[in-house]
């Protein structure tokens, strides 16, 4: 999902997790209404927030990842099992006893992903996952998304910069002023992208043309 600031991307994501309730219409996840079934929605849909720092609640990496499964009321052995599995999955098992504050930006984002994965959701929402990340950090997060997609998770990503994820995308939605203005395959030419308020997607060899457009 792409679109300029204030176009409603984050608000739409929050509806899917039941953090925001619609004033009109209805939101359903796999046929189950979010309203009245919040726990179901949150078990089904995990959300990785834009600012990884502000979602850290644990004093150690392990404790933070275990936060979600503990809230689901799982027994301690299952919590430990799911925590270890999620840490292994994002490659942070060797840092399990470290303070999250000592992790790099990319690692913090992976920690946030592990925190969501440990709850074993089917759908994972990423809100601006590349903001404030350097190139290695972006590569780490994209690598993680590839693995999640391969494992059968549905991934929804909002971003101004679709370059890193466009090759993974099956569908591209452009938002504008709270509405969907384009919904289709992830092919968007430079001029069209700019008119919709997003950065053009750089296919090889199009860099010069896009620079001219800007």
């Amino acid at each position: 999902m792409a679109g300029p600031n204030g176009s409603g991307k984050t608000t739409l994501l929050r509806h899917l997790n039941g953090l925001v309730m619609p004033s009109e219409g209805d939101v359903s996840i796999s046929g189950v209404r979010v309203k009245g079934n919040l726990l179901h929605a949150r078990k089904m849909v995990g959300m990785v927030f834009q600012d990884a720092d502000s979602q850290i609640v644990g004093e150690t990496v392990r404790e933070d990842v275990a936060f979600g499964p503990e809230n689901l009321g799982l027994d301690p052995a299952t919590v430990d099992g799911q925590t270890d599995w999620a840490l292994e999955k994002v490659g942070l098992a060797h840092k399990a006893d470290m303070s999250p504050h000592l992790l790099s930006g990319g690692e913090k984002r992976r920690l946030a992903i592990a925190g969501v994965l440990s709850m074993q959701p089917e759908i994972i929402l990423f809100d601006e996952p590349f903001s404030n990340l350097d190139y290695p950090g972006i590569c780490q997060v994209v690598g993680q998304m590839k693995t999640l997609k391969k494992d059968g998770h549905t991934i929804v990503v909002t971003s101004h910069d679709m370059d890193p994820v466009i090759e993974l995308a099956d569908r591209l939605i452009i938002m504008g002023q709270g509405r969907i203005v384009k919904d289709g395959t992830p092919a968007l030419e430079g001029r069209e992208a700019i008119s919709l308020g997003i950065r053009p997607i750089m296919a090889p060899g199009t860099v010069r043309e896009s620079a001219w457009l800007l």
Partner: protein, 251 residues
């Protein structure tokens, strides 16, 4: 890469780290009362023991002193107020303002007591996980009728969690203001306003984001786990600590 401040939990395996959090809170309350009420000599002894504890757990004292710079300004104000409001044999007189030896001693002692209590708090937060503090608070308030102990514990846990964030944010705001030439503005009220507003805005926004992230991960107050039983070593430390506080009272 970021580093841990004195306000973060520092993992370790010292006897203070391993002490039951409920006993730590009781000892902290007892020691704070002691620090506020004992004589100057006993204060030297108790604060000396605190300094040894800080060294034992590896508390980064230099980093703590740097981060406490705003607290030192507050201490200076408290010192000035005590010096100017305590009567005694005048050492210096400027107009109607009088500085006495008793005022200087009294101001110094008050600041020393407050600083020692802050050091005690640092020892607690750097050796105790926020989750342990939350569990302890819920345990203490569980028998009190009409008190939502789990909500209270969560609130306290969040406050402890946010202390390092607030200091980090204060550092960022200060650096940003300095980069924009705040140094040339001499009006302290203007400087305070330009520091406080972005700091509060940032902290409130982060608190909102954290609340949303916790909600998204199915947080509920019922998720606070119970405490494990205290060990004989915990009881031994409680008795020893309380005994030392009693001795300090009678010196």
């Amino acid at each position: 890469m970021a580093s841990l401040t004195a306000f973060h939990y520092q993992s370790g395996n010292t006897m203070i780290h391993n002490l039951d959090a409920r006993f730590k809170l009781i000892l902290m309350a007892l020691t704070s009362i002691t620090l506020l009420n004992v004589s100057a000599w006993a204060l030297v002894g108790v604060s000396g023991m605190l300094a040894v504890l800080g060294w034992h757990i590896g508390l980064p004292l230099l980093s703590a002193a740097k981060e406490l710079r705003y607290f030192f300004i507050l201490l200076l104000m408290v010192f000035m107020a005590r010096v100017l409001s305590t009567s005694g044999e005048p050492l210096v007189q400027i107009g109607f303002l009088e500085i006495s030896k008793q005022g200087l001693v009294d101001g110094g002692l008050v600041c020393w007591r407050l600083l020692s209590i802050v050091l005690l708090g640092l020892v607690l937060v750097s050796t105790t996980r926020v989750s342990e503090i939350k569990q302890s608070v819920a345990w203490f308030f569980n028998p009190v009728p009409g008190v939502p102990e789990k909500r209270l514990a969560t609130m306290l846990g969040l406050i402890v969690r946010f202390i390092p964030e607030i200091f980090a944010k204060a550092g960022e705001v200060t650096a940003a203001q300095q980069a924009r030439g705040i140094g040339s503005r001499k009006n302290p009220f203007f400087r305070l306003k330009t520091f406080t507003i972005p700091l509060l805005r940032g902290v409130i926004r982060d608190a909102g984001n954290l609340a949303l992230a916790m909600e998204a991960r199915c947080y509920s107050e019922d998720g606070i786990r119970g405490m494990t039983s205290a060990t004989p070593r915990d009881w031994g430390m409680l008795i020893a600590g309380s005994g030392l506080c009693m001795v300090a009272f009678f010196i």
